[in-house]
Amino acid sequence: MMPASGYALAPAGPQAARLAHVFWVFFAVALVVYLVVVALLLLGVLRPGAAAVDEPARLRLVAVGGVLTAFTLIGLLVVSVRGGHELNPMRGAKDVLTVQVIGRQWWWELHYPGTAPDQEVVTANELHVPVGRPVLLQLVSRDVIHSFWVPELHGKRDLIPGHDSTTYIQADRPGVFRGQCAEFCGTQHAQMGFLVIAEPEDSFQRWLAVQRRPAPPQQELGAQARRGQQLFQRGTCVMCHRVAGTQAGATMGPDLTHVASRTTLAAGSLPNVREHLRRWVADAQSVKPGSHMPPTPLSATDQDDLVTYLEALR
């Protein structure tokens, strides 16, 4: 099922833990200061006394208040700057996994570089990471400014065209963490989510090996799936999507070579089950109105064939 959204104060990685720590320090100080101010206000307002106003004494109290504020702020500044430094201890770390994250208008394209160009894994919206290993994300934007943010792993980092930037994340426990684009990027900014799937090293390597294989050849497909593949290549799908090992090689839309292995569809908006896959293929605009995926009106049988073919792309 779809994981609930991440909670910034329930960290699952070293960076988010550091941020949560800084939050609790600031929150504690803020709570104390607020209680003091409200107490002063109530004590002053609810007990009208005719006490003469001795001006200099009150001014000295104001000065004391000012000095206390200044020292508190200096303390908070130290906490903030120290907290900021520990965010990228990964610089010198070894065996760092590098992934290129490309922000597109309203979905995420992920590239796992391989030893050779044909070994490169191209997937979308679901970032598989090995548990315990630092992951260097190279953030690139192809169109407008997006912002990569997984509350449980790290703070957000903007993807600005012309300013390629990097950020480190690391998951200390296996699990599925939901992320969301945090910088307004157009009509469907609201449904531009993604998942970070942290799994042990061996299952991550198994996943990577599966992703490196091209799509199953025609012979291995069932009759219905084979008809679906024909529809895929003769219809509108081939103009935008790529299925490695077939003629479909367009890169405008997400790579569908292993679409069935993904748990969600439409940038984390729909669970990847048959009727949602059918609804998304037949009329994407009903799920994400304004997204760049046009509706594909087909007869019921054609839809079944196409969906069967897509579900064969494990």
Binding site: P48, V81, A182
Partner: protein, 627 residues
């Protein structure tokens, strides 16, 4: 004598007199009324947005309309309500508090109002034609640029910015010169009321901050219309240039909105505590310090953009330091309130509401200043909660208190106290219940500006609760609107000084006559009306057949010379019309600007060419030899 003055200073009756109006009391009231109408429009948009967010995946409002709604809500509240309403309060109160008969440049204040109205009408004409802006009130490029915002939507936003900033600049120049040169004799710099100090600092911030957004929006409009490359990284431009230029303006702007609120508190407190605000020098220095430091904190809006860490740490420090002056002012007010014989009228309630609300916003502001914390909560509902706490808590609460405080002076009628108290409590409870849950939503990962969210995201209950309470907040503010409209005609009659306040504007009858002061008063202390009347002097010998006022020196306000202020004139309206036509046509073709200059020259000549009977050249300077 008063009839002669009234005949000289009043513009007459009828529509043409209404359009030629230059009295600061009238123009100030128009600014405030128009701004509150836009506040109502912004409020309606906010309720629509809350309705859409009350349920996950609800179809009430589609994504395109929602994006237009939140952009128009933000732009309306920031540019068409917050700054203009403070301009209005300043235009109305500053001359009265200084003992002046009008602003230094009366026709410029008329021009400022008309240009503001043109900007407001442009934005709402666009919004009603489905051409409202849809890229957020700070319109980051490249989304707001030519490639990703087709049509005229963002051009409407950019030109509206130019109009409202032109209006703010004109009012700022007017206020500064009035405060410097037209103070009542004896009102030295150290005897000026604290609200006037606030408006002086705000006016200087406007002079140095607004050009940044005029340049930024002009560069954006040029990029979209004629294809310049300010924000095209492939041709040498840079998207961060937009963010730097915009936030260099926008952070001072939020202080431009917030400082008059503090000034109003310093004006309201004496009347209800029977004490002068403690630490006059501390409050003045704090206001001036806030004015300067506000220009050095803008990068805290860009911590997530990946700028070098050393720079971010500097801006963390400067963003933390800016809380000290405001903190000192709050401590001074707490000391003033300390065990004072209080009179719990509505204005004081709103000031107390300020303390309870704004301090929460200030503290979340301190949290947002820290880079590691900001990386988690930037661009989320946490920031939405923070900005509403500091803007509604910091500026709208004192403003509502100011409306209840100065309404008798502006209209001669008291606002209903019972309705005021009900409105206060509904507004306070409704506001806190609406916006406090958004802090939790932000920490739970709900980003800003999302038109919907998934059923499984866990944000449903808090959003529903927030929407319901938004209705309560709306009701609270609606009661004040009804109170104002009802009391306008049927409120209790108000005498000159209903609150026994200390500043000069309470020395004139309510509503003030066209000439404000029969004789311009002289001032001997910081609270002129609390001195015994016998010791208050007046200025005599000013002509009553001309709009003559006394100009005083800058520091000590010693009388320096007499001058004639401009009278009612239609040219500000024509100049605003030409500015409007010129800029709106330049949205479609670059020839709009040369056309505006061509139309503008005759209007400027009409505006400046001397009219009426000339005083002969060498009348009173026999000394100079005939040329």
């Amino acid at each position: 004598m008063n009839e002669a003055l009234a005949a000289t200073w009043s513009p007459g009756r009828g529509l043409s007199a209404w359009l030629r109006e230059v009295r600061h009391t009238e123009i100030g009231k128009r600014f405030v009324v128009t701004a509150f109408l836009f506040f109502a429009a912004g409020g309606i948009e906010a309720l629509l947005m809350r309705l859409q967010l009350s349920r996950p995946a609800s179809g009430t409002v589609g994504p395109d309309l929602y994006n237009r709604l939140f952009t128009t809500h933000g732009s309306t509240m920031m540019f068409l309500f917050a700054v203009p309403v403070m301009q209005g309060v300043g235009t109305f109160t500053v001359p009265l508090m200084l003992g002046a008969r009008n602003l230094a440049f009366p026709r410029l204040s008329a021009y400022s109002y008309y240009v503001y109205v043109v900007g407001g009408l442009l934005l709402y004409a666009g919004f009603s034609l489905r051409a409202g802006p849809d890229a957020g009130w700070f319109a980051y490029t490249p989304l707001s640029g030519p490639a990703f915002s087709p049509g005229k939507r963002m051009d409407v936003w950019a030109q509206m910015i130019t109009f409202t900033e032109l209006s703010a600049l004109a009012t700022a120049v007017n206020l500064i010169v009035t405060i410097f040169k037209l103070r009542a004799p004896g009102m030295s710099i150290t005897r000026m009321p604290l609200l006037v100090w606030a408006f002086l600092v705000v006016a200087f911030m406007i002079v140095f901050a607004m050009p940044a957004v005029v340049v930024a929006s002009s560069c954006l409009a040029l990029d979209r219309l004629v294809g310049t490359h300010f924000f095209n990284h492939a041709e040498g431009g840079d998207h961060l240039l937009w963010q730097h230029m915009f936030w260099f303006f926008a952070h001072p702007e939020v202080y431009i909105i917030f400082l008059p609120g503090l000034g109003m508190i310093s004006a309201i407190l004496p009347a209800f505590t029977r004490r002068r605000v403690l630490g006059y020098d501390v409050v003045v220095l704090a206001t001036v310090t806030t004015g300067f430091v506000a220009f050095g904190v803008w990068v805290h809006h860009m911590f997530a953009a990946g700028l070098p860490q050393l720079g971010d740490s500097y801006f963390t420090a400067s963003s933390l330091i800016i809380t000290i002056p405001t903190g000192l002012q709050i401590f001074c007010w707490l000391a003033t309130l300390w065990r004072a014989p209080l009179r719990f009228a509505t204005p004081l309630l709103f000031v107390l509401g300020f303390f309870v609300t704004f301090v929460v916003g200030g503290l979340t502001g301190v949290m947002l200043a820290a880079v590691p914390l900001d990386l988690q909560v930037h661009d989320t509902m946490f920031v939405v909660a923070h900005l509403h706490y500091v803007l509604i808590g910091g500026a709208v609460f004192p403003l509502l208190g100011g409306v209840y405080y100065w309404f008798p002076k502006a209209t001669g009628r008291m606002l209903n106290e019972r309705a005021g108290k009900v409105s206060f409590w509904l507004t306070l409870i409704g506001f806190n219940a609406t916006f406090f849950p958004l802090h939790m939503l932000g920490l739970h990962g709900m980003p800003r500006r999302v038109y919907t969210y998934l059923p499984g995201s866990g944000w449903h209950h808090l959003n529903l609760f927030s929407t319901v309470c938004a209705g309560v907040l709306g009701l609270g503010i609606l009661i004040t609107f009804v109170n104002v409209v009802a009391s306008r005609a049927r409120g209790r009659r108000a005498e000159a000084n209903p609150w026994e306040a200390d500043s000069l504007e309470w020395a004139v009858p309510s509503p003030p006559p066209p000439y404000n002061f029969a004789e311009i008063p002289t001032v001997g202390s910081r609270a002129p009306l609390w001195e015994e009347p016998s010791s208050r002097g007046v200025v005599t010998g000013l002509a009553t057949d001309q709009r003559e006022v006394v100009v005083t020196t800058l520091l000590d306000a010693a009388p320096d010379h007499r001058t004639i202020l401009a009278g009612p004139s239609i040219w500000p309206l024509f100049a605003a019309a030409v500015t409007g036509v010129g800029f709106i046509v330049s949205m479609f073709t670059p020839w709009g600007l040369p056309m505006a200059v061509a139309l503008g020259v005759p209007v400027m000549v009409g505006w400046f060419w001397p009219k009426g009977k000339p005083t002969p050249l060498h009348a009173e300077q026999p000394g100079t030899k005939a040329a």
